[in-house]
């Protein structure tokens, strides 16, 4: 019989994609204007990783999903009000800045430290999940750093599918160039997986799951250690939003034929 899975998902918050982002200078380096006020969401790729983990957990009764998040405690608490309703998980939180200008290695160091400190960690049987990149820093390096720091030697990047067999071997599809996948088979754990979008829809909110999760999440947030995550060895010279606004020509009341002809000429031109 297949064994329960131990899945650790690394992920944190990013500004809601619909928000306008304006860089400002702070004593700690670049930041976002009104950063504390900006509504946040769970990073989209990390969210995919969490949903995939929750889905795998359903297939193996007794499995455990732990979300490890490095971010400002108050904002994490706000975020958890919605994320906790999506899937059953435990939270390990680290109270530290998170954003597009922080250093990936410092974030990875705190993630690895938090994972190593988990009392029931069974690394040889662990699946370490995360997004293939974040919607903030978008470096796509953090999970590889964490894997290296934990000594995990099997890693897959930009994964859209993971098919698990009862003997813990699995096949993954990783995104590669030209809209293609690299298919690989791996003989067991531990493994780290940087998820792309996967194939699952966002789960609907389930208040009961939310209430059950929050019983563990609130104490986890209360005891979240403070960490000093900054811009590391990076010296920022500039952070700017380039002005790319176009003078759009809106063509109304044109005949379909004329539009089609204009488009064809433009394509061929």
């Amino acid at each position: 019989m297949a064994k329960p899975l131990n899945m650790i998902v690394c992920g944190s918050l990013v500004p809601d994609p619909l928000q306008t982002l304006e860089p400002v200078q702070t004593p700690q380096g670049p930041g976002l204007k009104n950063e504390q006020m900006l509504p946040s969401v769970l990073d989209p790729w990390a969210a995919c990783a969490l949903y995939e983990a929750a889905n795998l957990a359903k297939l193996r009764p007794g499995s455990k999903v732990t979300l490890v998040a490095v971010g400002p405690k108050a904002k994490l608490q706000q975020l958890m009000m919605t994320v906790a309703q999506k899937a059953p998980f435990q939270l390990v939180a680290v109270n530290a800045p998170a954003g597009g200008f922080t250093d990936a290695q410092e974030t990875a160091t705190e993630l690895a430290k938090a994972i190593k400190a988990m009392p029931d960690l069974d690394l040889p049987s662990t699946l370490l999940f995360g997004g293939c990149a974040s919607a903030s820093r978008d470096a796509g390096v953090t999970l590889q750093f964490v894997a290296e720091m934990l000594g995990i030697t099997e890693f897959f990047m930009g994964v859209d599918e993971l098919k698990l067999a009862d003997d813990d071997s699995f096949t993954v599809l990783e995104r590669i160039e030209g809209g293609k996948y690299l298919s690989s088979t791996c003989a067991g754990f531990p493994v780290a997986v940087g998820w792309a979008t996967g194939s699952l829809p966002e789960p609907p909110n389930n208040p009961q799951t939310g209430m059950m999760n929050m019983r563990g999440i609130m104490p986890a947030l209360m005891k979240a250690p403070v960490a000093n995550v900054g811009i590391g060895g990076i010296s920022y010279e500039k952070a700017e939003v380039p002005s790319a606004k176009r003078a759009t020509v809106v063509k109304k009341d044109m005949a379909v034929d004329d539009i089609a002809r204009e488009i064809v000429e433009w394509i061929k031109g």
């Binding site: 994609p17 670049p30 290695q105 096949t171 791996c186």
Partner: protein, 278 residues
Amino acid sequence: MKIAAFTIDGNGTFAQDVPAFAAAIAAAGADVILVPGTSRVRRSFPAAALRAGAAIDTNAVAVLADGDKVSVQRWAYRQRILTTFTRKARPWIIATDPALFADICASLGVQPEPLAADAEASTRTKINGVVAAGTGGESTIKPDSPLLFVAGAGWTKKQADGATHLDEAAATITGFLAKSGASLGSSKSLVDMPEAAKAFRFMSHMNQVGQTGATPRHAKGLSTCCHGEEPHVVGWRFVNDRRAVNLDANCGWAQGKADILYVADAFAVMKRVNELLA
């Protein structure tokens, strides 16, 4: 200051590539190492850099050298904020946007050399091979095409007769792709739709353009049935010549995001375009 550049072809496993790349970083003895940010590099170079005691930055769109000072430009927040920065750490690995690697190397006067990834290491991973995304046969993603054609959720909406026309939409889109040689992009709302997944089997999440999708580089982009919301349009950052067809004259494309917006029914327009391209 020594700047080296490596090209890395083929596929490899993390377990075998990390020690090989780490050894190459050490052997290069360079202050700055440029690599193209291919899938293989993105998978294994970060851990290799860490193992070799190097700093690494990815997705560089420009690298400027002035004496001993090297500056990198890269986007933060998914093509929303452009940053310019430097590091004192050496060696410093800079993984560039793959499409810009050759130009960046040329601008720095560096000749890239192939990196031999042949370190012996055991792995539990076996590569099975490369497979196409989706189930529609030929790939609809063509990075080298001059034209990006984006389909939005409007292709699945009810039309003037009160019914959806998914098969007709699929035939129009694939017909246009075949005749124009365009690469197919999609809005997130379309690829997330279960009904689209069934009807548009030539499309997958790999086609998604935007904040949580790809940021492709094509000379021209034509958007159809897509509202042009900011999270989608950030994926158009590197598409300079943009046109859109949408029924809403006040959609996002009209707000300075497209060069020309045709206010029209994309079903009718694209069918006629296909006839003209035939």
